[in-house]
Symmetry: C2
Subunit: 429 residues, 2 copies
């Protein structure tokens, strides 16, 4: 039996050792991980086949969804992508031990703000086993220790990938062996959530209920998003073609993504031009349409049912449509029912765009562009830890920087505060 508190404690010790590990050493470990994942591809696929076989029964009994089953499945292409992801992280700049700024606060006293790792991070994720190598690599690059808990359906795949990573770490001298850790059961997660003495951040990646459960059951700061209820507001000054193209992309390009659109708000002045085109396009693309009563009355042949829950994240080819009388009504609706993830205005009037982007209180506020762009890779961060709807620490797509904090280094030469209080010395303004 694993003792999770012991794991957390030795991860904390490893996190102190990690404070001095050089960029070169970290990159050496990452390259070893990539090389070994490549060498053991067949082992990974074999383990994954065991998981898939077990999952098939869960699929039949309805305990897991088809999309969860699909996420569990690792084919050669997915593994290649996973390995390339590790190699890409090698090429990113080291996010720690960077001087953010440096200044003299008084004659002879230098203050430096230096980026540094957070310490120990706990990451809880569901079916996707490729997350293990991604998160381990991001943790290593940012000099954090990590404790991973994967989905139980992926246990064999997770174990295999984890062992490859562990062996890669052991093969490199001077790299702390307890930097990457794994736990398996729900009980272990609950124990981990109590280890606030050792763990400084929890990142849950998965369903709303998972994230909400985590947030309610730990003193440790949690980084993540519970919901992705994204909106597109089609302003009265919208370009119809742009609106339709963007809505179709935002709904259909990958409907289960958290940044896909759930609700479209349409200004009443433009509805008669937009709706005939939009409804047809949505239907063509196999999207089920829920709407307010106005739209249902006028276009009953297109509308499946009355939208009665504006808080709903479909994560599927289903969309809610609603008429609004003003940009203010749209903004209020989004701030009330949205999840603070990503929301977009379609308009040719820049003043309206700026107003929308000022007042919508979301991590991403977009003008004339698909919500599907909300992504660390697309933002050019090179890697993504996840997407955050937090209002502290990190918001929106989180890159390597989100796994860092800073410390202040103060250099003096025997300086005492008493000399400043007495007026003998003064601070630089």
């Amino acid at each position: 039996m694993v003792d999770v508190i012991e794991i957390a404690k030795s991860a904390k010790d490893a996190s102190i050792e990690l404070l001095q590990v050089s960029s070169d050493l970290k990159n050496k470990v990452l390259t070893q991980i990539a090389d070994r994942l490549e060498y053991y591809i067949q082992d990974i696929i074999n383990a994954n086949n065991v998981d898939l076989k077990n999952a098939q029964e869960l699929l039949i009994s309805g305990e897991i969804s088809q999309s969860a089953y699909n996420r569990l499945k690792l084919d050669n292409n997915k593994i290649r992508d996973m390995i390339q992801g590790v190699r890409d992280i090698v090429n990113l700049p080291d996010p720690v031990n960077r001087t953010i700024w440096s200044k003299n606060i008084a004659e002879g006293i230098i203050l430096k703000k230096i980026s540094c790792p957070i310490g120990v991070i706990g990451v809880i994720f569901e079916a996707r086993p490729d997350v293990i190598s991604q998160i381990s690599s991001l943790a290593i690059k940012s000099s954090n220790a990590v404790i991973l808990k994967g989905g139980s359906e992926a246990v064999e795949t997770n174990k295999t990938i984890f062992n490859i990573i562990k062996n890669a770490i052991s093969s490199v001298n001077d790299f702390p062996s307890n930097a990457v850790n794994i736990i398996f059961s729900r009980d272990d997660v609950n124990k981990m959530l109590t280890a606030d003495e050792y763990i400084s951040l929890i990142i849950p990646r998965g369903s709303n209920s998972l994230v909400k459960y985590i947030k309610s059951n730990t003193k440790i700061p949690v980084l993540g998003h519970a919901d992705g209820i994204c909106h597109i507001y089609v302003d009265e000054f919208a370009d119809i073609d742009k609106a339709v193209n963007i809505i179709i992309d935002a709904k259909c390009q990958y409907p289960s993504a958290c940044n896909s659109v759930e609700t479209v708000l349409i200004h009443s002045e433009i509805k008669d031009i937009l709706l005939p085109v939009l409804l047809n396009k949505l239907k063509e693309n196999g999207v089920i349409i829920n709407s307010d009563e106005n739209i249902q009355n006028e276009y009953s042949e297109y509308v499946n049912s009355i939208a009665d829950n504006w808080h709903k994240e479909y994560g599927d080819k289903i969309i809610s449509l609603k008429i609004v009388e003003s940009i203010d009504e749209a903004i209020n609706h989004i701030n009330k029912y949205g999840s603070g993830h990503t929301d977009c205005i379609i308009t040719e009037k820049n003043l309206n765009a700026e107003k929308f982007m000022m007042f919508v209180d979301s991590a991403g506020v977009y003008h004339n562009i698909s919500t599907r762009f909300a992504d660390g890779f697309r933002y050019g961060f090179g890697a993504e830890v996840g997407i955050s709807t937090n209002k502290t620490h990190a918001r929106g797509p989180v890159g390597l920087d989100g796994l860092t904090i800073y410390k202040y280094k103060l250099y003096g030469n025997g300086d005492i505060v008493a000399d400043f209080v007495s007026g003998k010395r003064t601070f630089i303004k």
Copy 2:
């Protein structure tokens, strides 16, 4: 009776209105607050006298300490400082709506990272009533709404200052009147801690037990420090004069401050030169000395008792001394028993200083300078929200920036992700 959830809800509404308030308007409100505090000084002193009279009974019965009583007392000088504090905040740069960076992520697609307020912040503080105007002003300057809960001993002073602030806000057109709010009872605090739907950050300023209680009873992120167990390590290569001066300053200049030193670790190679001088100086300054057995055996005339709790924050003229055999032992001791606040090495060997500053996992790591410098004003931040020992969001002395987060604004022209997935378009590397 106040309904705290209603207060939190209207504070949230105010926080949305605050998103568009200009720098000029915010500074106008702040100037009104300062002017009115000045005009009503006598009212504040009268209210404070009522609180002081009530507190005298608590002082006699031992329910509050002399230092809490002193913090409660507002004289003319303290009120002048409080008013100057508000005026100083007027002169600071506006921390929100600042473009942190801006870049093209693909042809025609611009991504901007813009600083913005957090939303609603709950601040819980103990006896010091001057905190009300300080925190209200910082919240206004950073466009956040705030809910304040002061110490019950200061209730009359708090009410008076709060009403002056409220009236100042009402006197300025277009400024949301619910930006600053106050609650009074412990029950109300407990309700506030459940309002995670509306409140995005809690800042407790007060005793360890207050901070620990808050952290254990809310899902809302908490910014603050529970303990200030600061260390000074006197390395074998230390300059004795610097060591003694810095230790005396760090212990005696203001012993109840969280950045005053609690434990001095002394390398065994230097103890015979350092201790005779240091112990005399500490005694001269009225400091009670606890120590390990080695020091007690040799200098029993100086030592009050054996130090048996290295986790202890004295907050008084009491100090713990301990001999260590190496810099590594010192680092390990600090990482084990410290609170991650501020820790200092005294040495003339830069290599040792860098090692210490790398491995000590604290918000402030100092070389040859008093721990008492850990302060937002001394760091040149112009104002201080508090000191944080968090490993996320903000660490160390927190200035106005700690009350901000950011949003991403993405500007396109009808762009869809499908074009990038198909390879028709590419992102800029």
